[in-house]
Subunit: 281 residues, 2 copies
């Protein structure tokens, strides 16, 4: 694969302390140009200012801003995503704003081009959800999945095929809705990412960084589900799922869905663009 990299953040990443995740983003952008896309947010200017200040403080010099507040803008393309753009950062907000405004437009095609040419695409919260093939668009946390509550899924931007990403995971009690989602089709792997936690996907594999956990729900081992059989509002039954909880330094092979757990002493050293090249084996 000659794809670029993804950094998928579970939301609420540290913005004032060590800023481990955003620092990693900045290190990977380096001297190149990053475009902030606050398309998900109803307050894009506030988001722009906040992230621009943080990334400047972390040493990113070339920052620009993608302005798309209506689908017309996306259909017209975006000059800001020029040849020099090496990274795009999707902020939080509502994932359906991103997909309804950008989906199938020259802007999202251009973002995919940047990614396929080796660029870095980052998303936090709603911006994380859209990176997967499919995304969860509704469904409360703090409850178990109910049949007929609607699949509550929609196509994401698809930069990470075969994966559905949920965020604010432990914090919002989302195991029920993620299990509900992957039970619909165990082909899709569920990744539930805690706040201030991220998954870095690049040629060397899929690496966890940050303070919390990443829940990997693999339903391929499922032996039974009542999903297609039951009436509205029945609670879900799903038997024999495989669950991994990963923490900083652990790696997941997305093709084989196997985990390479890593001792913390190796996870603690800076990863930058060197440590992240430890091969998955």
């Amino acid at each position: 694969m000659s794809m670029g990299s993804l950094i998928i953040i579970g939301g609420h990443e540290d913005k004032h302390g060590e800023r481990r995740i955003l620092r990693e983003v900045a290190a990977r952008v380096g001297e190149r140009k990053m475009v902030i896309a606050a398309v998900a947010s109803r307050h894009p200017e506030t988001m722009r200012k906040m992230y621009e200040a943080i990334f400047r403080d972390l040493g990113v010099k070339h920052i620009d801003f993608l302005r798309v507040e209506a689908r017309d803008h996306a259909l017209a393309g975006a000059d800001v995503l020029d040849e020099s753009t090496a990274a795009v950062f999707f902020t939080g907000g509502d994932q359906l704003r991103i997909t309804t405004l950008l989906g199938g437009s020259p802007v999202s095609r251009r973002i995919r081009e940047i990614y396929e040419a080796g660029g870095l695409i980052v998303g936090t919260s709603a911006g994380a959800s859209v990176l997967g093939e499919t995304m969860i668009v509704r469904g409360d946390g703090g409850e178990s999945y109910r049949i007929g509550s609607g699949a509550n899924m929609a196509p994401g931007l698809g930069l990470l095929p075969g994966v559905i990403i949920d965020q604010h995971f432990a914090q919002r009690g989302r195991i029920g809705r993620l299990v509900g989602a992957v039970t619909h089709n165990p082909r899709i792997l569920g990744l539930g990412i805690d706040e201030d936690t991220a998954v870095i996907v690049d040629n060397s594999g899929c690496l966890v960084i940050g303070a919390g956990g990443v829940y990997v729900v693999d339903a391929r081992s499922m032996t039974y589900s009542n999903l297609a059989e039951e009436e509205e509002n029945c609670a879900l039954t799903a038997v024999g799922l495989t669950l991994h909880i990963l923490s900083q330094g652990d790696r997941l092979d997305l093709l084989t869905r196997t985990v390479v757990a890593q001792p913390a002493e190796r996870a603690d050293r800076p990863i930058g663009s060197v440590g992240s090249r430890i091969p998955v084996d």
Copy 2:
């Protein structure tokens, strides 16, 4: 086994509508005597009045009340738990109040006798947690498990050996703390019970009733955990857990840890003391 039955309720059971779970309790008590134990609560009189009114309305005629507000009371035994007592109902509150007041006392020995003689022991919320071998006594929901945050476990009353019970499960985002608990020793099976949902354990097996889900976390399949290796405050890694989500009508064989999922049409019919005798096979 000639044991009695347990009804383990995830808290917040319906008290005003169909009252499916409390109705099942009442049906199993029948004409016999039930003792309400509000030991977990700091407002035992309020609890007593509330549950007494509900159970009288559901047809239970013989209701008495276990008064234990200090360990002295428990050490003196409790005449209320006489030969005619067929059921004990533990309300919610703080599970450590139950175990510190009753643990190792003539009262808890008498409750075990009632159970072993074929009686019914019911617990909701904190009263559910104490029924297991081990119980979780602290640990916030809404976050992933962190190493060194303390095992946060203590011995329960042990009526259900080999099991750790968590309650208010989806509602309080407790997958992190239950996974943390069972990872300490995969011998222990984790049962996370949603609100208004219960597990009935009797000679015919272990049956789910109610509105929500029951999460079964079986860590025997775990291939790696960083629990014993990492420093304080590291997030947990746990690879290869098995997760089942059960709903009303499903059965779990606690010995083999296998699930017999059941179509809803069978689950919908009244279970009383007849339907619950469907053999697990």
